[in-house]
């Protein structure tokens, strides 16, 4: 009996280093959290943004003032003839514009020329209070009107208005 026990002990003592050796060969146990659901969700989000995203140009506003018709006028009107900017459509479908200034020989399609001329006028009048009246024809595109308005604001005129359509 004792001999049998000692025999089995000897066998087990022979096996233990063998098992340890195998475990050592396998290397250390790697612990890793399950990443698959997270990657799934992240890709869903990425796809959503890629498909749903629309890049937009940043927009702003140019300040304008309409005449106040709510009550009696507090300030007397300025005794200067307004600068009248006439806009008429050009091109097959009105894609271009002709810019003219009344009582002057300016006739151009270049907003930069309008800006230059308005600067000259401002220097000549020595005032930025002179009214600038933009008078577009019916079929002038809004982009050309805003362009003319922008150039007048850029020339630092303070009273810029729109007249009813001409032509």
């Amino acid at each position: 009996m004792a001999r049998e026990r000692s025999k089995s002990d000897a066998e087990s003592s022979r096996y233990i280093p063998e098992r340890k050796k195998r475990e050592k060969d396998r290397g250390p146990t790697v612990m890793q959290p399950p990443l698959t659901p997270m990657i799934d969700v992240v890709f869903q989000l990425l796809l959503f943004f890629l498909l749903g995203c629309q890049f937009r140009m940043s927009e702003g506003q140019i300040q304008a003032r309409l005449p106040d018709i709510s009550g009696p006028q507090s300030t007397p009107p300025i005794q200067v003839d307004p600068i009248k900017v006439l806009l008429s459509p050009a091109g097959l479908e009105g894609e271009a514009v002709r810019i003219e200034i009344a009582d002057s020989n300016l006739s151009t399609n270049d907003p930069r020329a309008l800006h230059g001329y308005l600067l000259q006028l401002r220097d000549r009048y020595e005032s930025d209070e002179v009214p600038v009246i933009i008078t577009p024809a019916h079929e002038v595109r809004w982009t050309h009107i805003v362009e003319a308005f922008n150039q007048a604001v850029r020339a630092r005129f303070k009273n810029i208005g729109f007249a009813p359509a001409e032509g």
Binding site: G60, I69, W142
Partner: protein, 161 residues
């Protein structure tokens, strides 16, 4: 020799996911930061882009009147729709040209309930190709509603000379 290979067990092939996850997170953060939530008040359209634009971002205390053009497809089918306003939109409500009196009431109500009624402004937001005769009724509406502060929407920065 062969014994030791068996002893090691089957080889584990795995992708190195770390750089991919890094990139993906970078992209998500980029989109999260740059995405602007779509607003019902800002109808998608092509805005004027003036040279040396003087436009600045003025956010508060305002109403926006969108002058909405017909779709590209509709214009291709019928060229007479080019430059014509399909509808006007204020606070997400579509208003037809013959019904612009509605806008006067909406603006008056907005001005009345505003914190600073004297500084209340109206923004006119129209597509590049809209004709002036489609904008004129809006200007008349603004005068009827006694709105002195008007703003014109254009792209910021604009084209350089």
């Amino acid at each position: 020799m062969a014994k030791s290979v068996y002893r090691r067990g089957g080889a584990q092939v795995s992708f190195n996911m770390t750089p991919m996850i890094d990139c993906t997170f970078q992209l998500i953060i980029f989109f999260l930061l740059t995405t602007q939530a779509a607003s019902a008040e800002l109808v998608p359209m092509k805005l004027p882009d003036p040279i040396r634009s003087q436009a600045r971002e003025l956010k508060e205390n305002k109403a926006i009147i969108n002058v909405v053009p017909y779709s590209k497809r509709k214009i291709e089918q019928d060229r007479s729709k080019l430059g014509i306003a399909k509808e006007y939109r204020v606070k997400g409500e579509a208003v037809k040209k013959h019904d612009l009196e509605k806008i006067v009431n909406i603006l008056k109500e907005m001005k009345r309930t505003s914190d600073k009624p004297d500084k209340f402004a109206v923004e006119v937001r129209a597509d590049q190709k809209i004709h002036y005769d489609q904008i004129q009724p809006v200007l008349r509406v603004l005068q009827d509603a006694q709105m002195a502060n008007m703003r014109i929407t254009a792209l910021i920065g604009g084209r350089e000379e």
